[in-house]
């Protein structure tokens, strides 16, 4: 379904819903509703609640557009809209310097990837012969056999990886945690960061079975998983713990899509849903905890289960699902991931299983940290006055937790209505027997599960005393060698370069600005004129009436007088003579409009400069060195010569009357006016004229600012 938008550029407003986009659309709308409900009490009495809702709902619309687009350009537009709304939401607390800085980081990293994505999508459309995704998916083999297939794939992958915070672009995501918690829950765990995953899944039928895809995507996934797991264990901030676990989960999804057999795809789809449910809930819980206690540090928190029972319920359900404990959806997701690993052959299988067990063990460890340290344990802060949050804030997280439980207890619904269509949309085969309903026989995946939970509990037992302090020691090293350091250095270098060139090019000296402008224009024009055409003196001089000669003589007299003038007023008046003489020439050669305008502009210019001159000393009060005088004279004479040469060149070409004839013929019939100049200005080229009066207005404002806004003085109106 769709309608054309810019048919010349193949941009159509076409939308399509299949199993894959349906999952994302459901996640976006369900979690969006929960976050909208949650944000009300969370931001109670916040002065910018209105702005928050505008941004959040704009984001929701963009994200829905992104997953429902059937046109790649349209998809890109929505993609950038989500980046932009994400930028505004990260910087929501715009008086906080940290928030502004991190918002910039997020938008710079993701738009850099977005530009790569745009290039990739344009290439894809070119080699696939269409910009409609449904057509592209049908042309998969043509695209795969094309010699530009590799650059196309790499560019698209860069876009997906930056958006989904894959290594080495992951660093913007933890920094985005300065956003209000509902934003982190919605954009930076459940939906927006999954846009890259969506893109990978969307184009999986095209690129999915190539060797490049397998190695690049799965390696990136593995590195991201390990980075996320490793970095998570050194955090004590609830949101940062969750953010690094999100990075790990995104890595896992990427890895599964990189492997790309049917088991892996099924695991990816189930894990996608499981992750959105538990991570959304846990972020909201973290928000509630901070809302009530004022801190997010797990080392300080504890014992909240007595005070916040419903929030604790949501937290426990979420943490258990993240740890992969039955009977929650996270458990099924984890089992399917192990199954996918076991379905591989040889060394790949072993590597996969080891990495999966390690990251799942970390997830279990983090879940235990969240639940035990946060809600049970002994607090170091006073929690006597802590009370349960209002219903709007516990309803959502509890609902998500129970949904996770319900899906597992009654798996048929999820399997038939949601997962099977998505898997078949990606693999092109009917997805039967996904096996959500497997029993609790002592299979290899179950044993791996038990192993990872055991390891996770071990991690938890040594975390507080040993692991976290140890990892914290590595902080300086990561700080100076991680990808974030590279980003910081690049930005700093760019700013230094900007400062350097501003110092050189915009030194504040009006004389040097004018000098550069004249040298550039004169140099380039002169070069082009001399290089591309020969100069010749006109064979015969046109017949000029004697009184016109009189006027023509006035022009050089005025110019010489201006040069020799000893005061500003004198120089300006002399230039006025030049202008009036030129206007007179216009009169004699049949351009009354030009003449009229020239007269008026000259008059006003002289009045303006005279007004200015009254404020300046009458004589030039600064002596110019002879060096400067020679230099200025050289520039002036050079520029004048170039202009004369251009005119001589122009005269060599015969006058082409096409346009003037066109305007003469059509001015009355289509423009309803007899004055051709005016009809051109207000009708044929009205858009140009509007642009010009805008420039005029802006320059007026600029002049106003220059005169009025003097440093250290109030503006008087």
């Amino acid at each position: 379904m769709g309608t054309t938008w810019v048919p010349e550029l193949n941009i159509n407003l076409s939308f399509a819903l299949d199993g894959l986009s349906a999952i994302f659309a459901l996640l976006i709308t369900v979690l969006g509703t929960i976050v909208v409900v949650y944000a009300g009490p969370y931001f109670e009495n916040h002065r910018d609640l209105g702005r928050f809702y505008v941004l959040l709902l704009s984001f929701m619309a963009s994200m829905l557009g992104l997953v429902l687009s059937d046109n790649v350009i349209l998809l890109y537009i929505f993609w950038e809209l989500t980046t932009f709304t994400s930028f505004l939401l990260i910087g929501f607390e715009n008086e906080n310097k940290e928030a502004r800085k991190n918002a910039w980081q997020a938008i710079l990293v993701t738009t850099a990837g977005g530009l790569a994505l745009l290039a990739g999508l344009l290439l894809l459309g070119r080699i696939g012969g269409s910009y409609e995704i449904s057509t592209l998916l049908a042309n998969g083999s043509t695209i795969r056999d094309h010699h530009l297939q590799l650059p196309t794939l790499i560019l698209i992958l860069i876009g997906a990886f930056t958006k989904s915070a894959q290594f080495p672009f992951h660093f913007w995501l933890p920094n985005a945690m300065v956003a209000p918690t509902p934003v982190s829950a919605y954009l930076h765990s459940a939906t927006m960061v999954k846009a890259g995953i969506y893109l990978l899944a969307r184009f999986f039928p095209i690129f999915g079975n190539t060797e490049t895809w397998f190695y690049v995507v799965s390696t990136t996934g593995v590195l991201t998983m390990l980075t996320g797991s490793f970095m998570a264990l050194k955090q004590t901030d609830l949101k940062l713990l969750l953010a690094y676990m999100t990075i790990m989960a995104l890595g896992a999804l990427t890895l599964l899509l990189g492997i790309g057999n049917k088991e892996a795809i099924t695991a990816a789809v189930v894990f996608l849903i499981a992750h959105a449910l538990y991570k959304g809930a846990l972020f909201l819980v973290a928000g509630s905890v901070e809302h009530e206690t004022g801190t997010r540090d797990v080392l300080k928190l504890g014992g909240l289960f007595r005070k916040m029972r419903l929030t604790t319920l949501a937290a426990v359900l979420g943490a258990a699902s993240m740890a992969g404990l039955p009977p929650l959806l996270g458990f099924i997701g984890k089992e399917l991931i192990y199954k996918a690993g076991l379905s591989l052959a040889g060394a790949a299988s072993i590597i996969f299983v080891i990495i999966a067990v390690v990251s799942k063990a970390t997830a279990t460890g983090v879940s235990a940290i969240l639940a035990f340290e946060g809600f049970f344990g002994v607090p170091t802060i006073a929690i006597e006055n802590v009370k349960e949050v209002s219903p709007g804030m516990w309803l959502g997280p509890c609902f998500l937790g129970l949904l996770s439980l319900g899906f597992t207890l009654f798996p048929g619904f999820l399997q038939d209505l949601i997962i099977a269509p998505a898997v078949s949309a990606m693999t092109g085969t009917a997805a039967n027997g996904i096996g959500l309903t497997h029993g609790f026989e002592l299979s290899t995946p179950l044993m791996l599960s038990i192993l990872s939970v055991g390891l996770g509990l071990m991690i938890y037992s040594v975390w507080r005393r040993l692991l976290q302090p140890l990892l914290n020691r590595l902080e300086p090293w990561i700080h100076s060698w991680g990808p974030a350091a590279f980003y910081n250095h690049s930005v700093a270098a760019l700013m230094n370069f900007a400062r350097f060139q501003t110092r050189i090019l915009q030194n504040g000296n009006l004389r040097s600005y004018l000098m550069r402008v004249f040298i550039t224009i004169g140099g380039l024009t002169g070069f082009t004129t001399l290089y591309y055409s020969s100069i010749s003196w006109p064979q015969e001089l046109p017949d000029i009436a004697f009184f016109v000669w009189g006027i023509l003589v006035l022009i050089p007299i005025g110019a010489i007088s201006a040069v020799l003038a000893t005061s500003v007023l004198m120089a300006v008046t002399s230039l006025g003579v030049v202008g009036y003489a030129i206007a007179l020439v216009f009169v004699f050669y049949g351009a009354p409009d030009l003449a009229l305008t020239q007269f008026l502009v000259e008059t006003l210019t002289i009045v303006l400069v005279a007004l200015l001159a009254m404020r300046l000393p009458d004589e030039y009060d600064y002596p110019l060195s002879s060096m400067t005088l020679v230099q200025d004279a050289g520039i002036a004479i050079g520029f004048g010569t170039v202009m004369a040469l251009v005119l001589l060149t122009v005269l060599k070409f015969p006058f082409d009357p096409y346009l003037s004839n066109y305007f003469a013929q059509n001015s009355l019939s289509s423009g309803n006016g007899r004055n051709i100049v005016n009809v051109i200005l207000v009708d044929f080229r009205a858009v140009d004229t509007w642009g010009e009066i805008t420039v005029l207005a802006m320059s007026g404002l600029g002049a106003f600012a220059l005169i009025k806004f003097v440093k250290g003085r109030a503006i008087s109106e």
Partner: protein, 138 residues
């Protein structure tokens, strides 16, 4: 500069100049003139008034802030171009209608005239923004 001679002649000239500027604006579509030149003449008239009587009286006579005049001019120009989009025509297409006056005369009115009025306002507003700023700095 506020001499008696200047003040007396200014009063006479300003009226004539302003009338002339409107004359230029209205005849512009068929004869030399138009919003730009009209605006320049009006700016000249106001400059004369400013020099003769000072910015305070001049501002008072203008009644609106020259910067608001500029903005209103831009808006007028743009809206004259938007009218055509409501008639399913490309942006800035001139639309005309004829007003019959008496038995014989027909007045052509159209969006280009509105556009020219916008140009007139921008030119006048910009010139006065600068001139007032200069004058008030002294």
């Amino acid at each position: 500069m506020t001499t008696l001679i200047l003040r007396t002649t200014a009063r006479l000239l300003i009226t004539l100049l302003l009338l002339f500027s409107i004359f230029l604006l209205l005849r512009g579509h068929d004869n030399p003139g138009g919003g730009f030149t009209g605006g320049l003449v009006a700016a000249a008239a106001w400059t004369l008034y400013t020099i003769a009587y000072g910015t305070k009286l001049s501002r008072h006579a203008l009644r609106v802030n020259p910067r608001s005049l500029t903005a209103a001019g831009l808006a007028t120009g743009l809206s004259s171009g938007l009218v055509s989009s409501f008639a399913a025509q490309p942006l800035f297409t001139g639309l005309w209608f004829e007003l019959r006056i008496g038995s014989r005369d027909i007045l052509h009115l159209g969006t280009p005239l509105l556009f020219d009025i916008g140009v007139y306002m921008v030119v006048l507003g910009t010139a006065l923004t600068i001139i007032f700023a200069f004058e008030e700095e002294q």
